[in-house]
């Protein structure tokens, strides 16, 4: 009741302000009249009576104000009039408002866009129930970590004490064939408990059960909601439907008809493989046959901790159990590079984001710097504007405006600017987010979640109002502090001086912040230059690559499969423009990662793990990997002949030191530890190749020809050296392979140069953003310097006139102003250097081959800043030098 009255009365006053005013005025007048009448009745003269009544009431205007100021509507009322006034102010000065709003919109937009990218990746919990219990497991060995083998997984899962559910999984790319061009699908082969580990239940049908995940088990598949809608028109009777998938990892004699048993809910987000559209059981052999894929380190492992079990507890329980496991499967572990020394239990959140975290945090830091520079710049603009409006403020103060009232007015104005800037900024963020997603490196997790949502909106709102207050506070305080008397006289040198001091320190801070950004960008740029100057170990130019996935139901026997690859290679070879071509089981810098054990006859118990390349004989020539010793592989290294091996020079040096490795004997992969298997012989030593990334030195590798390896890989990469443009050859090469069999999916078509560039996508992404931010910072700092100097030249016109009248030359006046500007820059640079030292510490994980105190970067950046600010100084200085003493002095 009373709240309603509060509101309705207030609204009435707001809507009909004059009615309310009149009402109150009448009441006060009536009071006055009554008091007067009473005094007359007591015998006073009418004049004295009126005076007495006045004395009792005081000034009626003040009285009315006092009564009115008690309602809530009075605050809203002033706010509205402040806003109205602020709008008028900004309309009156469109240039100023436009600049300020644009700068704020850019600052707010950039930081909002970056926040919307960073928030889901780094801060939002994973989209699973109790996400803190979802973990990823890795094997620990020799102080490093590696992917678990199925053997390890199986051993652990048999007694999964600390885990409620755990599953091994790997990527799976089955193809739907028989169409014009085969379509490859993205999927995963997963353990039966995979979805339980994530905590998600299928929306339709059932989850995998352990009978599904048996060796040679049933061909069952669970679809994503997207897949179900896309390919099956949301068929409600989908469960039990069968369809054909050419599946490269299924075994011979196994039907390729898959039965749909479930559909995942629409909301299910698979952060482990965002593009996966279907899932089938892993179906590895639990009897763990030696030499099989069960002992390869190519699986990933997810586990859901039991409630109340910490990750450290889980890890120590597993570690205590590992030695027993190692004894139990001693032979298996021997072929897989040894028993792991421990298990790493990492939170999935961390595991998924750790690769991108440093870059994202650095970018977030950079964008905050940009926002701060933008704020400083707008504060500067407002201060300059405040100086112009000093007369206005003085007038209002003289007319009785309280200092608080002036502050409120100015804050309203700056908040209005910030709000308009913020709205524009949100629009910029919308565009920016889309650009970010398009440009971001593919390893960025949770890309689908990057959008402008309510959290982002709140962020923008908070930033906007904080910016409005920050930006407005200084000019507002400045204006309220100034003395109306001296301001009205329009010649207050002291207050102008203090103003200048504030503005100068702001410019100094802008220069400092810009320097931090520039140094960061410079260090990243140098890093990338260093990285791309690194020799990958092969010649990346004129190389076309593509991955060919032979689907095994057709070519399940090794000979047939080998024949397919041979024929395909032969066809490619005969294409015009092709110099050489070869197949390899793994391709450098393409996310391929396949490591097998190798033991040396000369060093019992000195087995190593190294990258395995099963290649066609011409591979090393095609890649132009240099031969250091011995011979390369050739056509004579065929099935049945003694096995010939090439090893990388680092491996050779580490293992054989000064001895000649040629003629030494080794056993690799599945043959390791089997005395009954023949030895293979090292026939040559080749240069090291960067397999994982340019920055990673992991040079141990061995090469055999494909026919001499234990099996024929069904996924191989084709490398083609071309005479002309490599990319142009792609359609012809694809057609050449499909002319052998049109049902073999070909994926990941890229030039090698492209792969090299993409291998540093994350750093490039960070660099691109840093460059953009640094450029913005530089421009804002330059305009800041320009603005302050222009203002100072205008204020000092008279002084300059006097100076030149007294004989100062133009060049000395020029020097005077430039010196003033450069002093500011110099101080800014000094402060910025300290900031850059600190900031570069945060960048350290992104740097490579460059010290964070790299002198070249620092000197270059300082030079750039000095040049730019010299240009920014030049214009006002030139204007000062043009001052005609006669005119200025006459104007006095």
């Amino acid at each position: 009741m009373s709240l309603w009255r509060q509101i309705s009365h207030g609204l009435r006053v707001l809507i009909h302000p004059t009615d309310a005013d009149n009402d109150l005025a009448d009441e006060v007048q009536h009071y006055l009249d009554q008091a007067t009448a009473e005094s007359i009745a007591r015998g006073l003269s009418p004049d004295d009576a009126r005076q007495a009544a006045r004395n009792e009431l005081g000034n009626p205007v003040v009285l009315r104000d006092r009564v009115r100021s008690h309602g809530w509507e009075i605050v809203t009322g002033t706010l509205l009039s402040d806003l109205h006034y602020a709008f008028r102010q900004s309309r009156n000065n469109p240039g100023f408002s436009f600049t300020a709003i644009l700068i704020l919109a850019l600052g707010i937009g950039a930081s909002t866009a970056i926040f919307s990218a960073v928030n889901p990746i780094l801060f939002k919990p994973l989209p699973y129930p109790h996400p803190e219990r979802v973990t990823m497991l890795f094997e620990m060995k020799d102080g490093g970590s590696r992917l678990p083998s199925f053997g390890t997984f199986h051993g652990i899962s048999e007694r999964s004490g600390p885990f409620e559910a755990m599953a091994a999984f790997k990527a799976w790319q089955p193809a739907i064939t028989g169409l014009d061009q085969p379509e490859r699908l993205e999927g995963q082969r997963v353990g039966a408990e995979f979805f339980r580990a994530l905590g998600i239940v299928p929306a339709l049908g059932r989850d995998f059960q352990s009978p599904d995940d048996q060796h040679n088990g049933p061909n069952v598949v669970i679809l994503s909601d997207r897949m179900w809608r896309r390919r099956f028109n949301s068929d409600p009777a989908i469960i039990g439907r069968k369809f054909t998938l050419e599946d490269s990892s299924s075994q011979l004699d196994v039907s390729n008809v898959f039965t749909v048993i479930g559909v995942m809910p629409r909301s299910f987000e698979n952060v482990l493989a965002p593009k996966a559209e279907l899932w089938a059981p892993l179906q590895y052999d639990r009897s763990l046959p030696l030499g099989g894929r069960e002992w390869g380190h190519h699986l990933r492992m997810v586990g859901r901790l039991r409630p109340g079990v910490s990750r450290a507890q889980a890890a120590s329980q597993l570690d205590a159990f590992l030695p027993t496991l190692g004894q139990h499967y001693a032979k298996g572990f021997d072929t897989a590079g040894g028993t792991p020394s421990g298990m790493i239990v990492d939170s999935m959140q961390n595991s998924v984001t750790q690769g991108v975290r440093p870059a994202l945090l650095a970018i977030l830091g950079a964008v905050i710097l940009v926002l701060v520079i933008a704020c400083v710049n707008v504060t500067n603009l407002l201060l300059a504007r405040g100086a112009q409006r000093r007369g206005e403020f003085a007038m209002r103060a003289a007319l009785g405006a309280q200092p608080g009232r002036l502050v409120r007015q100015l804050l309203t104005e700056s908040l209005l600017l910030a709000t308009i800037g913020g709205i524009l900024g949100l629009a910029i963020a919308q565009v920016g987010v889309r650009a970010l997603v398009a440009l971001s490196p593919s390893e960025l997790p949770r890309l689908a979640d990057i959008r402008v949502d309510s959290a982002v909106f709140v962020f923008a709102l908070v930033v906007t109002s904080a910016v409005g207050l920050l930006v407005g506070l200084m000019p507002a305080l400045n204006a309220s502090r100034s003395d109306p008397h001296s301001s009205l006289q329009q010649s207050s040198r002291t207050s102008a001086g203090r103003q200048q001091l504030v503005r100068r320190s702001l410019v100094v801070s802008e220069v400092g912040l810009a320097l931090v950004l520039l140094v960061s960008a410079g260090l990243l740029l140098r890093t990338l230059n260093r990285l791309f100057a690194i020799d990958p170990g092969f010649d990346a130019s004129h190389l076309l690559t593509m991955q060919v996935q032979e689907t095994s139901n057709r070519y399940a026997r090794d000979e047939a499969r080998a024949r397919f690859f041979e024929q395909a290679l032969d066809n490619v070879h005969h294409l015009p423009g092709v110099t050489t071509a070869a197949f390899t089981s793994q391709l450098p810098l393409s996310d391929d990662y396949e490591v097998y054990g190798i033991e040396f006859e000369a060093y019992p118990h000195g087995e190593e793990a190294a990258f395995r390349y099963a290649v066609s004989p011409e591979y090393l020539q095609t890649m132009r990997v240099p031969l250091r010793r011995g011979r390369l592989l050739n056509e004579n290294d065929r099935a049945g002949a003694p096995v010939a091996v090439l090893i990388s020079e680092s491996l050779a040096r580490r293992k054989f030191h000064d001895q000649d490795p040629i003629g030494q004997r080794v056993r690799m992969g599945p043959d390791m530890g089997h005395a009954d298997r023949p030895w293979a012989m090292i026939v040559g030593v080749v240069g090291d190749v960067k397999q994982l990334s340019l920055a990673t030195s992991q040079p141990d590798a061995f090469y055999t020809t494909a026919p001499q390896w234990a099996w024929v890989d069904n996924v191989q990469s084709l490398v083609v050296r071309t005479r002309a443009d490599a990319a142009a050859l792609a359609p012809a090469a694809r057609a050449a392979i499909w002319s052998v069999d049109k049902d073999q999916p070909i994926v990941r078509v890229a030039t090698m140069e492209n792969l090299v560039a993409m291998s540093e996508a994350q750093r490039r992404f960070a660099l691109m953003l840093f460059e953009a931010f640094a450029l913005v910072g530089l421009i804002l700092a330059a305009t800041g310097i320009y603005g302050v100097l222009s203002g100072s030249v205008t204020e000092r016109t008279r002084e300059i006139g006097v100076r030149s009248a007294l004989g100062a030359s133009r060049s000395s006046i020029l020097a005077l102003i430039v010196r003033q500007g450069m002093t500011l820059t110099g101080i800014g640079i000094t402060i910025g250097l300290l900031g850059a030292f600190a900031a570069s510490q945060a960048l350290i994980t992104l740097l490579f081959g460059v010290s964070r105190l790299d002198p070249v970067t620092y000197v270059g950046v300082i030079g750039l800043l000095l040049t730019v600010s010299a240009v920014a100084c030049w214009l006002p200085a030139w204007r000062a030098a043009q001052v005609d003493p006669a005119i200025t002095l006459r104007a006095e």
Binding site: S2, R5, H9, E27, H30, A35, L57, R66
Partner: protein, 111 residues
């Protein structure tokens, strides 16, 4: 200047207004004079405080107001006590009595 303090005791203006209006509807000036009269000049009401308080009490729902003709046929804003206002008067009277008697007891004990 040794004039006696005629300020209304802080926090009691509401009570005085409500009590005065409980006798009959009245305009602002009337309330001021009535308080003075009844208190025999001990309290003088400040017009500014009075008008502010009236507005506040009206917003709180304890008073209603309407413009009416006075006995000498002039228009004036008359305030009436609402039902909530009566309730509030009861509450405040009880509260005041309790406190005043406490103070009286204290003073007696002191002497």
């Amino acid at each position: 200047m040794d004039e006696p303090n005629t300020d209304v005791i802080q926090g009691t203006l509401d009570l005085l207004i409500l009590k005065t209006l409980s006798l009959e509807p009245m305009h602002g000036f009337g309330i001021a004079r009535r308080v003075e009269q009844i208190s025999r000049g001990v309290f003088k009401v400040n017009p500014g405080s009075l008008l502010t308080a009236l507005q506040r009490l009206e917003r709180a729902g304890w008073l209603d107001s309407e413009w009416r003709e006075t006995e000498n046929s002039r228009r004036a804003k008359f305030y009436t006590l609402t039902r909530e206002g009566k309730k509030q008067l009861g509450v405040e009277t009880a509260d005041w009595t309790r406190r005043a008697s406490a103070i009286a007891r204290l003073l007696k004990a002191e002497v």
